[in-house]
């Protein structure tokens, strides 16, 4: 069987592309699907994108206009900037954005660090009670977080952290999912030989972690950081209870936008657009990684 490279030389780039396509087809096993498939997928895409576009349309219109035309025309009107300015003047948007950034970044950073440390230990080090402890970690994933919300609130009030960001950051510093995820990844991705080589060279355990395990964990760590960032950014219940309206994150500020005014949908949707835009931007940059992260996790989990 001739390779793609030889086809390129012998029969030109067109034939090479065709050969590559043939090979890809054989690998994924199947013919190219017809238009029915693409129509179905386009429909799915439409359903997942329209609500966002709808929010954008309402954000660029006005309250009286929304009352008259419940179904917005697909062409946006020009009121987006003035609605955004009204969002700025009615809720502390910038401080909410800043709070969300601080919380999401610190939660992602600590989760990745601590999960990778624990994952390294569970995947590659030998110690008493390892299996039982790992099973325990996985078991904690089944505990609903709401079960502890009342005492958590009491403790945070006692520590004088109510209304302050550490109250949201501390509970998110490490996650059972993260530990499990990194354990799974490092079990396969980090060969024992590398660890032994580092040990023979006189590395302490923490140096071995830093110079061998951490670099090997990088792809999975990046995905964990992404997922942690998203779940932290979109979290509402706990920040809403502990931070309150005085020092909100973005989702809490959105709630304020809805309750503090006569229900002006153009204003609310401008807030929705503002709060969602950063993650949509992140999605366009890193969506591919998110997709492969979910798919990799599914096979292993």
């Amino acid at each position: 069987m001739s390779s793609v490279a030889t086809a390129h030389q012998l029969a030109g780039p067109g034939a090479a592309r065709a050969a590559a396509r043939r090979r890809a087809r054989m690998q994924s096993g199947g013919r190219r699907p017809g238009w029915v498939t693409y129509t179905l997928l386009a429909l799915v895409l439409l359903i997942s994108a329209y609500p966002l576009y709808f929010a954008f349309l309402l954000a660029s219109s006005t309250a009286p206009d929304i009352a008259v035309n419940p179904i917005p025309s697909l062409i946006p009107q020009g009121h987006l900037m003035e609605n955004i300015e009204r969002v700025f003047s009615s809720v502390p948007f910038w401080s909410a954005l800043w709070n969300s950034v601080i919380v999401a970044v610190s939660v992602s950073f600590t989760t990745v660090l601590f999960s990778t440390l624990a994952g390294f230990a569970f995947a590659k080090l030998r110690f008493r009670g390892k299996r039982g402890l790992l099973a325990f970690v996985i078991g904690t994933m089944a505990i609903p977080p709401q079960l502890g919300i009342v005492p958590l609130f009491i403790v945070m009030v006692q520590l004088d952290l109510a209304g302050k960001l550490p109250a949201v950051i501390i509970p998110g510093m490490v996650s059972a999912f993260g530990v499990f995820w990194m354990t799974q990844y490092l079990t396969e991705a980090l060969p024992y030989e590398l660890i032994e080589a580092a040990r023979v060279d006189g590395c302490s355990m923490i140096r071995t972690f830093w110079h061998v395990a951490l670099p090997a964990a990088r792809p999975a760590a990046a995905m964990l950081a992404l997922f942690t960032f998203i779940s932290s950014w979109t979290q509402f219940f706990w920040p809403y209870i502990i931070l309150g309206p005085a020092n909100p994150t973005l989702p809490v500020a959105l709630q304020l936008l809805q309750s503090s005014y006569f229900k002006d949908m153009s204003l609310i949707m401008a807030g929705v657009v503002l709060a969602t835009a950063p993650l949509v931007a992140l999605f366009f940059v890193a969506g591919k990684q998110l997709v492969s992260g979910i798919m990799a996790g599914a096979v292993k989990g």
Partner: protein, 322 residues
């Protein structure tokens, strides 16, 4: 002399190194267990304690309450309304979502052009916060000047009370959950489908099974562990639902007759609402936990039964036994 000095120096280092090897694993896993003790285990047990106390949000602990908090909750109509709503929304979101996710995954599992584009497309809603999803769909499902009711009236049908009526409000909230999570679960199912060995599918086709039969009798049974995983995780999440119903209207109480108030909202209302009663809120938390555990086990049992009864292997075994 110098030799023995070097030797003893080495043993100290060796000892340190041994200590390092012995303690390092525990040090590395310590952050998780410490944090879990502080924000997981302790609150869980303390919730049980608070649930047996007279405990105000502002007044603090005011003595024992015995089972009064549980008695209050379990004799309160609102608790059962919340229970009904939570289960109704959960069923309306999990069942159609599972079916849709498997169906879309089957479509995506073809040899597509621009694969990554389509996969990213289904995942887009995942990055939208539930709060934002709720605000958007709250308007799409608005009773007056909402998109769906406008479409209904324009084709001559009666508008539906998406907020004022029980079942329609549950459907609207379930739609929000489905919007955000179907794509995510689709990718999980897609990955599971791609992990099915080709020869199994090919064997079915060679045996003359139609595409549909192959899908139903080979692919779906082989997705069993994945289906169970998705069902369990969506049970744990779904029974705690708060964000979407909380923002479905501006009052956030779950409607005039609490028609879409969930258990989590009821807990919030007891603890942080006008009653400011953390004791009662804790009782609700424990009841909710018990329900989640029972329901997760039930789901596990049910899904494993349904999934096995579909596989050809299980059937032939049953036949053999008969």
């Amino acid at each position: 002399m110098s030799r023995s000095a070097a030797g003893s120096d080495l043993t100290v280092r060796q000892r340190l190194s041994k200590l390092d090897v012995a303690t390092a694993p525990y040090v590395y896993i310590a952050p998780f267990f410490l944090l879990f003790a502080v924000i997981g285990l302790f609150p869980m047990l303390f919730t049980a304690y608070v649930s047996t106390r007279e405990y105000g949000l502002l007044s603090g602990d005011a003595g024992p309450a015995g089972i009064d908090n549980y008695a209050f909750v379990l004799t309160n109509d609102r608790f059962f309304i919340g229970l009904r709503n939570t289960f109704s929304i959960f069923l309306l979101s999990s069942v159609p979502q599972m079916v849709a996710a498997i169906a879309i995954a089957a479509v995506l599992n073809a040899n597509l052009r621009a694969r990554t584009f389509w996969r990213m497309g289904v995942l887009l809603p995942y990055v939208v916060a539930p709060v934002a999803v709720s605000l958007i769909f709250g308007q799409i499902f608005a009773d007056q000047s909402g998109v769906i009711n406008a479409v209904l009236t324009s084709i001559g049908l009666d508008p539906i009370g998406w907020h004022s009526e029980v079942l329609p409000s549950h459907i609207a909230i379930a739609t929000m959950v489905n919007f955000r999570w179907t794509g995510y679960n689709t990718l999980i199912f897609l990955a599971a489908m791609q992990a099915i060995p080709h020869d199994v599918i090919e064997a079915a086709i060679v045996d003359g099974a139609s595409r549909w039969r192959t899908f139903w009798h080979v692919t779906v049974p082989m997705l069993r562990p994945t289906i169970m995983f998705v069902v369990i995780t969506s049970t744990i999440g779904g029974l705690q639902i708060f964000d979407e119903p909380r923002l479905y209207d501006s009052a956030g109480l779950g409607g005039n007759s609490r028609q879409w108030m969930t258990i989590a909202m009821y807990m919030y209302e007891l603890g942080w609402g006008p009653q400011r009663n953390l004791g009662r809120a804790s009782a609700v938390a424990w009841i909710l936990f018990a329900i989640v555990v029972v329901f997760a086990l039930l789901n596990f049992w049910l899904t494993s039964r349904i999934a096995t009864s579909g596989t050809p292997v299980a059937r032939s075994r049953k036949k053999a036994r008969a």
